[in-house]
Subunit: 205 residues, 2 copies
DNA sequence: GTCTATAACTCGATAGAC
DNA sequence: GTCTATCGAGTTATAGAC
């Protein structure tokens, strides 16, 4: 793997990393260009040299992060796996992504709220999730008597809800369960299994 | 019911209503005192006359709204209802509250993120949710062979997740399901039943 | 209590030297 | 490319008249 010619990162990279961190923690309105500059170890002027404005810098970060939100969901859902395997893989990969990006949900949801049309375009492109495929798959299994009927979008929303919400409400969850940061992450690691069980127990006949 | 002596609301009330709306839509950082003044039909100076600062005004609103978030949850959970009835009532009342306050979740979660310690104090006081009670209740039913084992906090988190998340991700849900505002609300009305079914199907033996 | 005017300050953005 | 210095717009907050 070819590295930067200097031993430290390029200025652009430093800015992007600092901006990501600050925007995630504070949101676009709460973030200060000064904070980002400080965290990147440079001055404000340089931020504007690289990315004309705060809004543009934010868009850059959002564009990058938006793609993580709907990770390999589509590919899992249209794959040749069974529904049960799909649920397992979906939840597993979703929670893994969140474990590595715990602030991603609140960041994305705030932008969706602030600027729904553009945000959704950046997240989904023009490609709606493969709800129809899921509906078909469910219909087959219902006919075979293996699962109870449920709407495809509802199954998807429920899975996503169960994965994401604990990260959104993390300080509350930690307070209620009296867990440290480390313990919380372990809890979420375990949660992969319990969510899969919760969902499958619900739909299995 | 005794009314204000004038036919319109008191200035304080007008401010509180305007502030609630603006803070909910924009968050504390995105909100402008000018917007609140405009919406209340007064000027900025008067805002400061009634509530010393933006932060203080925000605290006022948050305090009021924080109590809706954990509505009658505790009372339901410690009541004499069966677990199945509790789930039904819990979900029903939660979604009803959200139907009347669709922006409440993102508002609360953002403050929890911005200021976890104080926010949690305002939401819960010092009283943790009655998880132990739920654990006991579950233990009994497991012993009787009526339900599968599940941790009390996990059942609660799952119920809350399933209720709240669709409101948090509302623009996304509406885009995926191609629903208007009105249709979305109907969908959430229906969701009361499907969430109850989803949860009960999952834990019932 | 309510208003107008403005002070005090923050912050994004730019100019210009090196 | 990177820095210092500063501008100028926008915002919270206050002073003071009515």
């Amino acid at each position: 793997m070819i590295k930067e010619n200097k031993n430290d990162k390029s200025t652009e990279q430093k800015i992007l990393e600092a901006a990501k961190q600050v925007f995630m923690e504070k949101g676009i309105d709460g973030a200060r260009m000064q904070d980002i500059a400080d965290k990147a170890g440079i001055n404000k002027a340089l931020l504007h040299y690289y990315f004309r404005s705060k809004e543009k810098l934010f868009e850059m970060i959002f564009m990058e992060e938006a793609r993580k939100f709907l990770p390999k969901v589509t590919s899992i859902m249209v794959s040749e796996l069974t529904l049960f395997e799909k649920v397992e893989k979906f939840v597993g990969e979703y929670i893994d992504t969140l474990l590595q990006n715990p602030l991603l949900p609140i960041f994305i949801l705030n932008e969706i709220n602030r600027n729904p049309k553009e945000a959704i375009k950046k997240i989904f492109g023009n490609q709606r999730p493969p709800i129809d495929k899921v509906d078909e798959l469910i219909a087959k299994l219902v006919k075979k008597g293996e699962i109870k009927p449920i709407k495809g979008y509802e199954l998807m929303v429920n899975m996503v809800s169960l994965c994401i919400f604990p990260f959104l409400a993390r300080p509350m969850v930690q307070w209620v369960t009296k867990t440290t940061d480390e313990e919380f992450l372990k809890l979420m690691e375990l949660r992969k299994k319990t969510v899969v069980k919760f969902v499958l127990d619900s739909i299995k006949k």
